[in-house]
Each structure stands twice: as structure tokens, then as C-alpha cells.
């Protein structure tokens, strides 16, 4: 069934609620304004998404919104449109998932043919996802965990590496907020790596980052090691995530950590590994040769975890691990 459109009165009411809610958080307010201009009917979702956040999480969201707005730059309006388009894409995937209990594709050949090789699709997809880090409770909460929990563990001055860095947001946050000194970005796609480079240059971090075309399945013994390795929203795209983890464990320096974000029940056109319980994520890490030190489950719109699992509502699991 279609959801009833908002009346003008309801829209005005939601806008003033959002304004009050986001007072003193100018970047979050600006991003929200941009998105509701492009998509007024989304105000209801955003009001719920912000209403369930603690003041500390709203502060994190505001600081991430500042970075996201800088990255979106002159294309902020188009980025908001792309976010709306992304949500439409996901709704289609959610419908397919509810009907079949499976993700649409299961091999890299399929996602490569239908998603990765489509440049226009990928560009809009990446833009949309950039905003999701602020606008979706699940993603904002996982970033809050990333900043809060890793700050307590990571030694300042170290070196990090992220595989599949995309828009470079986590690298930027690790360099500026976790006290890490140097970052390396790995990707198998030169186009994606160029995007990360452009993003980090734009954010003024270019001199502290290096870039390499590197397949994580092909790491050789004795290769460079890192104090922190990030695999954020990566494992669900791989055909053999356990094999990849077994390889990458050798690149974690002594006393270093692996940080993983991996979703449960999150149908997206390029997800091929369906996990449906946090235990599945823990098992994947353990089979890959890691010991899980901390795990947090961030549910869609802060639904209770049992309800989210029962209803197959998307959850992001954030995990801090070390090699066994």
C-alpha cells in the first residue's frame, strides 16, 4: 500500500520539530534542510531517526555532517537527490528480500555486471550512501561506536589501512579524531581509489595518505603491517570473506586491531553475503582467525535487537577484533 502523502500542515509541523531538535547543531540542520527540500516526504523518517539519538550521538552526527557537507561541496543538491534515489533502489531490494528471504545476487560476477560496472549507478549510489552515514540511525550509531570505542584502544601516532575506502570518511575520522598519523587506502578498483584520493585531498588529508591497488586476497607474507585495519561494509560484498580475513590477519601489527562494520538482513543490489544474526558475524571473524573483543549491533531506527532480528530489519554490527 502506498503511504499517504503528508499534508502541508503536517509538513510544516515536522519542519519546526526538526528545527527545534537540531538547534545548536548547524551542520546536521543544514543537511536535513537540503534533503527535505529534495524530498519533503522524508521529514517523518528523519524526525524519528533523530528522535531516538542521544545528545552525544547527535553531536557526533553533527560533526560527521560537517565533513559530509564539505565532501558534497557544490553538488550538495544533487547528492540529496541521489540519496532519495538510493532509498528507492533499496525499497525495491527490500520488497525482493521480503518475498524471497535472499539477496538478489550471490556472486561477484553478477554484482559486477549489474552494479559495479555501471558508472552512473555507482556514482549516485556512493553519493546516497555518503548521506546515509548521517541520516540513518544505524549508520550514524556505528560511526559513534567507531569513534568512541577505538579512541579508547588505538595508540596515537599509529598507521591505519582501510580496504574499499570509498568516500574516505572513516580514514578522515581516524586521522583527525583517533590520533592516527598515517593512512593507506587499498582497493581493487583504480576508479574507486581515485575517488578516495580526491575526497581526502578535498578534506586536506592528502599528505597523510597513500594509495595502492591491492587485492586483500593476495597479501604476501612479510608485507606491510598496520595498527588499525578497517573493513567497513566490505565483507558482505565478497564471495569468500573468511578467506579474505585469513589473509588480512597477517597485516595487523602486534597489539593492533581490526575494525569491521558488517550488516545483517540488509538487501542492497551489491550485497551477496546474507548474515542474519550477530552470531553469524562473530563466527565469520573467528573462522577468519580473529578474536572478537567488542561487538555492537545498531538497528534500523533503534528498533530493539530481538524485534529487528525477528522481523529481518537491517542491522549494522560493529566489531573490534584482534588476530588470534
Amino acid at each position: 500500500m502506498n503511504l499517504p502523502g503528508q499534508t502541508r500542515e503536517r509538513e510544516n509541523q515536522l519542519m519546526s520539530t526538526l528545527e527545534e531538535m537540531l538547534a545548536g547543531r548547524p551542520h546536521l540542520a543544514k543537511l536535513t534542510h537540503l534533503v527535505t527540500e529534495a524530498w519533503p516526504e522524508h521529514a517523518d523518517y528523519l524526525e524519528k531517526s533523530f528522535d531516538v539519538r542521544t545528545p552525544a550521538l547527535l553531536d557526533t552526527s553533527d560533526s560527521v555532517a560537517e565533513v559530509v557537507l564539505r565532501l558534497a561541496g557544490d553538488h550538495a543538491g544533487q547528492t540529496a537527490q541521489d540519496y532519495r534515489w538510493l532509498c528507492d533502489v533499496i525499497r525495491e531490494e527490500e520488497l525482493n528480500f521480503a518475498r524471497t528471504d535472499a539477496y538478489r545476487y550471490s556472486t561477484f560476477a553478477e554484482t559486477n555486471a549489474h552494479v559495479y560496472s555501471d558508472d552512473e549507478f555507482m556514482q549516485r549510489y556512493m553519493h546516497g550512501l555518503l548521506l546515509s552515514h548521517v541520516l540513518w540511525y544505524m549508520h550514524a550509531s556505528s560511526l559513534h561506536f567507531f569513534l568512541g570505542r577505538l579512541a579508547a584502544r588505538v595508540k596515537p601516532g599509529g598507521k591505519m589501512m582501510e580496504v574499499g575506502s570509498g568516500h574516505g570518511l572513516l580514514i578522515y575520522l581516524a586521522l583527525t579524531r583517533l590520533g592516527l598519523e598515517e593512512a593507506v587506502a587499498w582497493d581493487i578498483s583504480p576508479v574507486s581509489l581515485d575517488q578516495t584520493r580526491a575526497a581526502l585531498d578535498q578534506l586536506g588529508m592528502g599528505e597523510r595518505a597513500r594509495y595502492a591497488i591491492q587485492d586483500m586476497h593476495q597479501i604476501e607474507a612479510g608485507s606491510e603491517q598496520f595498527d588499525l585495519i578497517i573493513l567497513s561494509h566490505l565483507l558482505e560484498h565478497l564471495e569468500a570473506p573468511v578467506d579474505a580475513l585469513q589473509k588480512i590477519r597477517h597485516a595487523v601489527a602486534k597489539g593492533g586491531y581490526l575494525f569491521v562494520n558488517v550488516p545483517l538482513n540488509a538487501p542492497m543490489p551489491d550485497h551477496i553475503q546474507l548474515l542474519s544474526d550477530p552470531d553469524d558475524a562473530v563466527k565469520m571473524l573467528e573462522d577468519g582467525g580473529f578474536r572478537v573483543l567488542e561487538i555492537a549491533s545498531h538497528t534500523t531506527q533503534a528498533a530493539s535487537l530481538p524485534r529487528a532480528l525477528k522481523r529481518k530489519i537491517a542491522v549494522t554490527c560493529s566489531i573490534i577484533a584482534e588476530p588470534r
Partner: protein
Amino acid sequence: MTRSDIASKVVEIMEDVFDEDDIAYDDAMTAADIEEWDSLSNIRFVVAIEKEFDIRFSNSEIADLENVGQMVDLIASKQG
């Protein structure tokens, strides 16, 4: 199946999907009347109905529905 049988089944599904007890059926009921009825639970509602009645909706059929009464009529028409 009579229209009121279909409506009763739809109410059972709504109570389950939207975690609400004792929903009083009304043809004019919409998402605005139920707290848990959002874009995501709407998808689960539609698919739960498809599974219960062994039917399939097209995207445009889903998009055109304005209230629960129209959903019940659509189910009845698909059941022939």
C-alpha cells in the same frame, strides 16, 4: 472467501506486522492511523498478504492503494 473474511485476515496480519493488539477494522484506515506503519513495515505487510492469500501484487498496484479497504477489494479481485 467473503469480503469480511478477507478483512479479518488482513487485520490479523496487521496486528502481527505492526505489533498492535485489537486493531478495529475500518475501510478508510491508512498508515497515518498506525504508529509502526512506515515504509519498511509497509513492505512486510504487503508481502505477508501476498503469502497468506497466495497472490502477487505489481508495483503499480501497491503504489495505487489509498487505504485498507482498497487492499481488501484488490485481494478479493485477485482471488476471483
